[in-house]
């Protein structure tokens, strides 16, 4: 014992001992990879309430990804198991769900939130508990905060502006009116950014017509917008309000160009609105009708088979949440902790398995390359938008 102590006391032997200790700590684990077993991810669903249509899509996409991670043995003998708790897009219920997930030591990470205020109310809880949170739908700036808060939401703002510019370049309007969900700060920011760019291109603002997210009757708002006599009307509102406003404009005989936003992309919108949405340009990062990569094609086919419906952008974002968490887990060894997973997710630069044709993480925020400007065809397919002649 004395002799051993003397040996490690010498600098050379101390260095060797340290290397050996590092090797002992790292080598066997690297050889083993992630310890086999099920790893729980708490998923706060929004399958009821006003946003249930989108909520169901996120949840479907996430379930499909979890099954694929297991089936393809992406994590070897390990798999991701989603544990769902319903919030109905209600902040109080989301907070309660998060607290329950955080209190459960078997939950490795949490995913949640379509609405930014709800995500904002959950964020301090996960930061305090050092638990990774991956947001699937909320868009407010400043939500991502590595190493514990990440967002797989494809931010629509830059894509809105790109779409508006493409439309303006094609139809050369002199004036534009905006229909805005005034009680939604995210849409207000998106509209202002686009408005600034369009005014810079010489398109005067005829006026802004405010509606509220909970509104159901848009006849008066459509009348007000048409009364401004604009060459183009751009709609910045949530799904129900945007659908209602566009339908009301068409019902009242507005025949000029209307520009929508990404909320028009899910299939139920065409089913609900029918021909009123045909030809209305809007941006998408993902469309089941315009897929090129093998991953995207496989995703569309598997989703269609499992849910008997085509995936939409929300399904894609839910899908990417699970693949992002899986990628972080893959870089870990043994039984990962929440802190280790958070650190691993912070190191993810490029998403390996994605359906957009290119996705990177910047400061905890997912970003895709390129913007598809599309519209619904009379047959109910999403097709590249073509300017009216």
């Amino acid at each position: 014992m004395k002799s051993w102590s003397r040996r490690i006391a010498s600098p050379t032997h101390a260095a060797l001992a340290a290397l050996a200790a590092l090797a002992l700590q790292g080598a066997p684990a690297a050889a083993q990879g992630l310890a086999p077993g099920d790893y729980k991810v708490g998923f706060i669903t929004e399958n009821t309430g006003a946003l249930a249509s989108a909520g169901q899509s996120y949840w479907n996409g996430a379930q499909l990804a979890a099954e694929e991670v297991k089936a393809t043995k992406y994590l070897g003998g390990a798999s991701i198991v989603l544990e769902a708790k319903e919030s109905g897009s209600d902040a109080a219920r989301a907070i309660q769900n998060t607290n329950q997930f955080v209190a459960d030591p078997s939950v490795l990470a949490v995913s949640c939130c379509i609405l930014s205020p709800v995500a904002g109310s959950v964020k301090p809880i996960v930061n305090e508990a050092k638990t990774p949170l991956v947001i699937f739908g909320a868009t407010a700036a400043g939500l991502p905060q590595p190493p514990y808060v990440y967002s797989m939401t494809i931010l629509p703002g830059p894509k809105d502006t790109a779409t508006a510019v493409k439309v303006v370049d094609a139809i050369k309007p002199k004036t534009a009116a905006y229909i805005l969900a005034a009680d939604n700060d995210a849409f207000k920011g998106r509209m202002n950014a686009t408005r600034e760019v369009l005014e810079g291109k010489g398109v005067a603002t005829a006026g802004v017509v405010n509606v509220l997210t909970k509104d159901t009757d848009f006849t008066a708002a459509a009348t007000q917008a048409m009364g401004l006599k604009p060459d183009v009307i751009l709609v910045y509102a949530t799904q129900g309000a945007a659908a209602g406003a566009i339908t009301a404009l068409h019902d009242r005989g507005y025949a000029k160009t209307i520009v929508g936003n990404d909320v028009l992309s899910p299939a139920p919108i065409f089913k609900k609105m029918g021909d009123t949405v045909v030809g209305v340009p809007f941006p998408v990062s993902f469309s089941d009708a315009i897929v090129e990569t093998p991953e995207a094609k496989a995703f569309v086919a598997a989703y269609q088979k499992k849910f008997n419906a085509p995936p939409d952008i929300y399904s894609a974002q839910g899908y990417q949440v699970v693949w992002f968490i899986a990628q972080g887990m893959k870089s870990l060894s043994g039984k990962p902790t929440r802190e280790a997973l958070g650190a691993a997710l912070a190191k993810v630069g490029t998403i390996e398995h994605q359906v957009y044709g290119g996705e990177v993480m910047k400061g905890g925020q997912a970003e895709t390359t390129g913007t598809l400007v599309v519209s619904w065809s009379p047959e109910g397919k999403i097709v590249p938008w073509v300017a009216p002649k």
């Binding site: 249509s53 005034a182 009680d183 609900k272 021909d275």
Partner: protein
């Protein structure tokens, strides 16, 4: 001026929906003594039934509308007999009925959410009159004309029924005192059932027409009408359907004009300020009689 007139018509059409809904709501309160929070659910279910008639049975507009109205009326009778009749028999007050109606509101809305897959659906274009008339330069969609016309017709019909018919006298007698009414030869149970049906049917009418014009058939449809319909009843007066009609249309016009000329954010604030003002300063409403005790 043209914009003002267009918005005036929009306000009248929107207010006609509030008025139609408020008519049934007010009749139930005046006759049965129930502040029925589940009344909005009848509108949601009527719209769902009419939509199903269009999509599943491929029925045209008028038969689908009648199915929706019938569904609203029958649902109101079932809820009344299951939820309120036992309370009536035990002589519980308004509070018990209100709490029970809230429970049925939650149940019926949850079921409506399940029936629609938690989504907002809409009537297919072509399944309802979509023509656009023109009054000079002013566009007049067919559904707005129908909504305003139906509201005027139903109001006149209900007014005549309540004020000029034997059944109306029986309704008023039951509303005043059920025991005295039965001593006078009125069958209160029969009056209650028919009144519940009329109330549910008018709510259903508002639901179907509202579902078509707003392109929103969901469990939230009735909720939107409930508060505005209640405001129309309070402002118009509980015991006079003409007051409810005038107040409903007034609220619709006020809502549209305040969004056009002030701010959309103030719309609901103005409506509820008006409601509060009437409750404080003229609780019997515009047309309500002085002797009406429930206000």
């Amino acid at each position: 001026m043209q914009l003002f007139l267009e918005q005036l018509i929009n306000g009248c059409a929107l207010g006609s929906l509030y008025a139609l809904f408020g008519l049934g709501f007010g009749i139930v309160f005046a006759t049965l003594g129930i502040l029925n929070a589940a009344h909005g659910s009848y509108a949601s279910w009527a719209a769902i039934a009419a939509l199903a008639a269009v999509e599943q049975l491929k029925l045209p507009f008028i038969p689908a509308l009648l199915i929706g109205v019938l569904a609203g009326g029958l649902l109101a009778v079932v809820v009344d007999q299951v939820a309120f009749q036992p309370l009536r028999r035990r002589g519980t007050g308004m509070l018990g009925a209100l709490i029970t109606s809230i429970a049925f509101w939650i149940i019926l809305d949850s079921l409506a959410g399940t029936a629609t897959g938690q989504q907002s659906l809409s009537f297919p274009r072509g399944s309802y009159p979509g023509a656009m008339f023109h009054l000079g330069e002013i566009p007049l969609p067919a559904m707005q004309v129908i909504t305003i016309g139906v509201m005027l017709g139903v109001t006149a019909g209900l007014h005549l029924l309540i004020r000029r018919s034997r059944f109306g006298a029986a309704m008023r007698a039951v509303g005043w005192n059920q025991t005295a009414a039965s001593l006078g030869g009125v069958n209160p149970r029969y009056v209650v059932i028919v009144t519940a049906f009329i109330a549910g049917a008018t709510s259903g009418l508002a639901g179907v027409l509202g579902g078509i014009t707003t392109h929103n058939v969901s469990f939230l449809l009735g909720e939107g009408l409930l508060l505005k319909g209640f405001a129309a009843v309070v402002v118009g007066g509980y015991d006079d359907v003409r007051g409810t009609a005038v107040a409903g249309v007034g609220l619709g016009v006020l809502e549209v004009m305040s969004a056009q000329y002030l701010s959309s954010g103030l719309r609901d604030g103005i409506t509820y300020a008006l409601l509060l003002g009437f409750l404080l300063l003229r609780p019997r409403g515009l047309f309500g009689s002085l002797g009406f005790s429930r206000a």
